[in-house]
């Protein structure tokens, strides 16, 4: 019999909460209905700490910490909402918009996009940073799906779902910093990938219009990542 995991007690936004020692601040907060914005996090996948939207303040440390990859500790005092955090979260979203070519009005995911929703939620009305307007390719070589690098925010949900759930590991990230971008296999066109099983999981978890089904353009169809919880649950039962 496994020893019971130890329980930690901490305070989030002035509220006393308890959590298992292996839980993140994000988990603990959401279990207690305390909202923290995220983009790269998705229930059922490992955490990447990529988007930095879940940054929170911890008493006793001047640095902001990402709630998704910071484990709870005894006596922690966490603040999830403050003018400082709002400022940085808005800045994160503005930088995402400025980095690539997110043209909502003509994007296949217009009105169904988590980045767009996040911008609305955080009250981003303008982007104060100069847009980079990079010249980025669109990979249409796959029979059913399209990869549009212009809309990618490098959340790596596709990389994680492909590795952790499908087990194909088709997707990867190439390059560093502003040059980082998604690749399939060893940087070959998606349509020529030997490992891709065309399961479409990457498309369903993509928060923006970076990955989409060709036949669904203009359909106003919402992506549906709910299969993740179902698959994980079924696997737990099998074990």
């Amino acid at each position: 019999m496994n020893p019971a995991p130890s329980v930690k007690t901490l305070m989030i936004d002035g509220k006393d909460v308890s959590a298992r020692a292996d839980q993140s601040i994000l988990d603990a907060a959401r279990e207690n209905a305390i909202p923290i914005p995220t983009l790269c996090h998705l229930d059922g996948l490992s955490e990447a700490g990529a988007c930095r939207l879940c940054l929170v303040e911890l008493k006793g440390t001047p640095r902001l910490q990402p709630a998704c990859v910071t484990l709870v500790e005894e006596g922690m005092e966490v603040t999830t909402q403050s003018p400082r955090l709002e400022k940085y979260r808005r800045m994160v979203v503005e930088l995402l918009f400025a980095e690539r070519n997110h043209v909502c009005s003509v994007c296949v995911s217009n009105n169904m996009c988590e980045l767009q929703d996040m911008a609305k939620q955080l009250g981003v009305t303008h982007v104060r940073f100069p847009y980079r307007y990079p010249r980025l390719p669109v990979d249409t070589t796959h029979e059913r799906f399209t990869m549009d690098h212009n809309r990618c925010i490098l959340c790596t949900r596709c990389v994680r779902v492909c590795t952790e759930i499908e087990g194909a590991h088709t997707w990867g990230v190439f390059g560093r910093g502003v040059d980082a971008h998604l690749i399939t296999d060893l940087d070959i066109p998606w349509g020529t990938s030997d490992t891709c099983t065309s399961c479409g999981k990457c498309v369903q978890v993509c928060p923006t219009g970076a990955l989409f089904e060709k036949s669904k353009v203009g359909m106003q169809s919402q992506k549906n990542p709910d299969f993740l919880n179902y698959l994980n649950e079924m696997r737990e039962i099998e074990r």
Partner: protein, 475 residues
């Protein structure tokens, strides 16, 4: 060295433009230029995008007639896939096109131009607008608003959204029409037919007071171009290109829109961002032709729906041959509204319209495709080339207003020579020159409406730089 008069900006049109009138030493108008002062880069920035995004992307060209771009683009994509659409989808697309024709024509006639007819060309610009129309002639004003609403509601019912719907896709449409929605649309038809008929009756009575304008508003011989269907009706969604001349003779017929480059040339002038298409066999600028409502009614021998047919017969009896005055674009627009309502009714009553299959799928089968339809303002052509991955490598668009560019330039020269006197400028003179442009209902770009609120500043300057006269129209 003569003087120059500039009208900038032109009000109550879609988009931004100005007019320059060049006066000679005697103070007579010697040249007139219509400048489109905006540049649209769609042909360039669609390069590298997948073809299946095109309808969705291209409709953003315009907020007034997005549906026409949506359809021309979807048809060009159908050509890339080398496929036909399901019969129900074809009819649904046609209804969408006609609904847009109604809303766009209602906007042009009632909102933008009827103030001139009702208040007079010389009226105070403060009152010469849609609010003035509603105050002075409530039935006409409200009727116009209702017609536009009807067109928009049909679009919304079919496509889910009034402006920039994403419903039309390569291979058909996204969603079939339900019986409930069809019945709801059919219920509105008698009311809007009555409104259209009343407006026609009123306008025909008013024509008498605009004799001078009819005589001088781009009233000259030219060719007319448009789509004509196999059963010899004006084609809005389908058909082949026909050219007729001012005597009503067919100059060329059954031309494939896809081969437009064989018979249409595009000339460029330094004073405007808009190109000048011309009929190649006659050369530039003799190959001047007009498109749009006036052209469409001149091209055919019958209208095809009972009530519009009666009106069409009366319209064509205005002149022995083709109706040449561009003032009659307004008249033609009202007849087309009636025609479109009747036609929508016809399509809705066809049992095929509610069939469930509304889309076929296919993959890329051609590397080049052309799509053509009749937008409210005339023939619209989308032409794409793609690489083997379906990414656009080249695009060319001929927008309806472009076809009329030569005629608009010649039209303002004609009207300016008649109305503008260089010794003293009046608001009415300028409004008449603008009204020539407005008769063509040019859609110079997007969805910006001036609606009589934009400032207009006109200066008359002598060759030595002395300000002779000045007129300022404030918002």
């Amino acid at each position: 060295m003569g003087k120059t008069i500039t009208i900038d900006p032109i009000t109550r049109i879609e988009g931004h433009a100005k007019i320059t009138l060049q006066l000679d030493d005697q103070g007579e108008v010697s040249e007139a230029y219509f400048h489109t002062t905006q540049l649209r880069g769609f042909e360039k920035f669609v390069e590298g995008r997948p073809y299946y995004e095109m309808p969705y992307l291209m409709e953003r060209i315009c907020g007034i007639c997005p549906v026409s771009h949506l359809l021309a683009s979807a048809k060009a994509c159908d050509a890339l896939l080398a496929m036909k659409v399901p019969p129900a989808a074809g009819k649904l697309r046609r209804i969408l096109e006609l609904a847009q024709l109604i809303q766009s024509h209602a906007l042009s006639f009632f909102y933008l131009s009827s103030p001139d007819f009702l208040m007079g060309m010389d009226a105070d610009p403060k009152e010469r607008n849609i609010f003035g129309v509603v105050a002075k002639h409530p039935e006409l004003g409200h009727g116009g608003i209702r017609l536009r609403q009807f067109g928009q509601q049909v679009i919304e019912t079919l496509a889910g959204k009034r402006v920039h719907p994403g419903w039309v896709v390569p291979g058909g449409v996204n969603e079939p029409l339900s019986v409930e929605k069809r019945d709801k649309l059919l219920a509105d038809i008698p009311e809007v037919i009555e409104i259209a008929q009343k407006a026609l009756t009123w306008f025909k009575r008013e024509l008498e007071s605009f004799r001078e304008e009819i005589r001088t508003f781009a009233n000259f011989p030219s060719l007319f171009m448009g789509l004509v269907t196999v059963d010899e009706r004006a084609g809005f969604y389908e058909g082949k290109i026909r050219f007729t001349d001012s005597l009503g003779n067919i100059v060329a017929d059954k031309l494939e829109a896809a081969q437009y480059q064989e018979y249409l040339g595009e000339a460029v002038e330094p004073f405007t961002f808009m190109k000048f298409p011309y009929y190649k066999p006659l050369g530039y600028p003799d190959g001047i032709y007009r498109v749009g409502p006036l052209a469409r009614l001149n091209l055919v021998d019958n209208c095809g729906t009972p009530l519009a047919q009666q009106e069409w017969v009366e319209f064509r009896s205005l002149e022995r041959n083709a109706v040449l005055s561009s003032f009659h674009y307004h008249y033609a627009r009202l007849i087309e509204i009636l025609f479109a309502i009747e036609h929508i009714q016809e399509y809705l009553l066809d049992p095929i319209i509610t069939k469930k299959q509304a889309r076929y799928t296919a993959s890329l089968n051609n590397l080049e495709g052309v799509g053509c339809c009749e937008a409210p303002r005339g023939t619209l052509i989308h032409h794409y080339r793609v690489d083997e991955q379906g990414l656009i490598t080249w695009a060319n668009l001929i927008i309806a207003t472009g076809h009329n560019n030569l005629a608009m330039n010649r039209g303002i020269l004609q009207a300016a020579r008649h109305f503008v006197r260089s010794d003293k400028l009046t608001e009415g003179m300028l409004n008449r020159v603008e009204a020539v442009i407005r008769a063509f209902d040019p859609c110079l770009s997007c969805s910006t409406h001036a609606d009589g609120h934009m400032p207009l500043h006109l200066r008359l300057v002598s060759p030595d730089g002395k300000l002779l006269d000045e007129l300022r129209r404030t918002p």
